[in-house]
C-alpha cells in the first residue's frame, strides 16, 4: 500500500516537473524577441528595457523605454475608464508632483523594466528587474 502511494507521489511530481519544464522552454523561447505583437497566439512575450521617461497627458500617460541598442519606444496607458490597466504602471509615475502633471518616478528612472505583453501584443504589466 505504502509502495503504491510512493509511486503515485513520484508520478505526480514527475508530471509537475515535466509541465514546468515545458512552460520554461516556452517562456525562454520568447526571450529576446523584442518585437511585441509578432508572437504566436497563446505565448507570453516580454521586452526588457530601460525606463527613460514618462509624459502625463489628461487622456493618457506615455512611458518611454530604451532598448540596449539605444532605440527608444513608447508604451501608452489610456485614462479612459474602461481601458485595460497596465499592472504596476502607477509605480513608474512621480508619486507626489508639485503643482503640475506628474513626471517619471525618479527612483525608477534609468532602471531595467520588463514589459509584459498579452497574446495580442498589448502591454499588460511592468515589473522592475533591478
Amino acid at each position: 500500500m505504502a509502495i503504491a502511494q510512493d509511486k503515485k507521489y513520484i508520478f505526480i511530481n514527475l508530471t509537475r516537473g515535466l509541465i514546468q519544464t515545458i512552460f520554461l522552454i516556452g517562456l525562454f523561447s520568447c526571450h529576446g524577441n523584442n518585437q511585441p505583437g509578432n508572437d504566436h497566439p497563446g505565448t507570453i512575450n516580454f521586452v526588457d528595457a530601460k525606463f527613460v521617461d514618462c509624459v502625463f497627458y489628461a487622456g493618457s500617460t506615455q512611458f518611454f523605454f530604451q532598448h540596449k541598442n539605444g532605440e527608444e519606444f513608447m508604451v501608452s496607458q489610456s485614462h479612459e475608464p474602461d481601458a485595460l490597466k497596465i499592472i504596476n504602471a502607477d509605480s513608474l509615475i512621480e508619486p507626489n508632483p508639485v503643482e503640475g502633471p506628474p513626471g517619471p518616478n525618479t527612483e525608477i528612472l534609468g532602471k531595467l523594466i520588463r514589459i509584459h505583453y498579452d497574446k495580442q501584443g498589448k502591454p499588460i504589466a511592468f515589473s522592475q528587474l533591478e
Binding site: D53, V55, F56, Y57, A58, G59, S60, Q62, F64, S76, S78, H79, E80, P81, A83, P97, V98, E99, G100, P101, P102, G103
Partner: protein
C-alpha cells in the same frame, strides 16, 4: 508640417474685445475634486494672468481627461469635447475655477518668450484641454477650434494683462507635442485675433462694396 513646439502668438494691445460670452457648464461633480489639484495663485487672479496654454488630451473622451482631476493628478480650466460627444457643438466643460492655478504645466518649465521666462506657469496662466488623441488620423473639428478661440477671446476681454497664447509643447518641448501637428494654429490665431462673435449684419454683407460702385455723372442744378 507645422511644429507644435513653435506654436505661439501674442495678443496685441489694440483690438481687445470688450466682452465675450462663453457657453460653458461645470463638469458634473468636478467641484468635489479640483481642490486636490489646484493652488491659490501667487499672482493677482485678474491682473496677474499673462498666458493661455493650449493642450490636447492624447485621449478620446472628456470622461478620460476629467478622470485625472478626480484622481488629483492634474487639472485645467476648460475641456473642449470631442466630435462624438453630445456636448460637442453646444458647450465646453468648466473644470476648475479661473481664480485658482490649475496644474496643467510642470512647475519647472518655462520659455523666454512667455512672461520673460518665469517658471510656475500655472500661476500666471489658464489651461484649455481639447479632446483629441493626437494621432495623425484624428483631425480637430471646426467647432473645437472655433470654441477654443472663443475661450481665448473671452479671456482676452476679461484679463487686461493677458498677452501670450502658447502651446504646451513650446513650454515643455523635450517630449510633449500637444496640441499636436493637426491643430490648425494659423486658423486658430486668425479666429482669436478677429473673432466670429460679431458677424456683419446680412443687409450690410450683401451690399455692393464701395469700390465697385460706378461714379455717376451729375447734371443737376447744384454743381457749382
Amino acid at each position: 508640417m507645422s511644429d507644435p513646439r513653435k506654436y505661439q502668438f501674442n495678443l496685441p494691445k489694440k483690438g481687445r474685445p470688450s466682452r465675450i460670452g462663453l457657453e460653458e457648464e461645470w463638469y458634473p461633480e468636478i467641484h468635489k475634486y479640483y481642490g486636490k489639484c489646484t493652488s491659490k495663485r501667487i499672482y493677482h487672479p485678474i491682473n496677474g494672468i499673462r498666458a493661455v496654454v493650449i493642450h490636447a488630451t492624447a485621449g478620446g473622451s472628456s470622461v478620460g481627461a476629467a478622470s485625472v482631476i478626480k484622481a488629483g493628478r492634474a487639472s485645467f480650466h476648460w475641456l473642449v469635447p470631442d466630435e462624438d460627444e453630445p456636448q460637442h457643438g453646444h458647450f465646453v466643460w468648466a473644470t476648475a475655477p479661473e481664480k485658482l492655478a490649475a496644474w496643467h504645466v510642470r512647475n519647472s518649465t518655462s520659455h523666454p518668450d512667455v512672461f520673460d521666462g518665469h517658471n510656475k506657469v500655472n500661476h500666471f496662466s489658464l489651461g484649455i484641454e481639447v479632446v483629441n488623441t493626437q494621432k495623425s488620423s484624428d483631425e480637430f473639428s471646426d467647432w473645437q477650434i472655433q470654441t477654443t478661440a472663443r475661450i481665448v477671446r473671452y479671456c482676452w476681454a476679461k484679463y487686461p494683462n493677458l498677452k501670450h497664447v502658447v502651446s504646451h509643447a513650446k513650454l515643455d518641448p523635450r517630449r510633449r507635442k500637444d496640441p499636436g501637428t493637426n491643430f490648425p494654429w494659423q486658423d486658430f490665431k486668425k479666429l482669436v485675433l478677429v473673432g466670429d462673435e460679431d458677424p456683419v449684419p446680412k443687409l450690410v454683407s450683401i451690399a455692393t462694396p464701395a469700390s465697385q460702385i460706378k461714379e455717376t455723372d451729375f447734371h443737376g442744378n447744384c454743381t457749382g
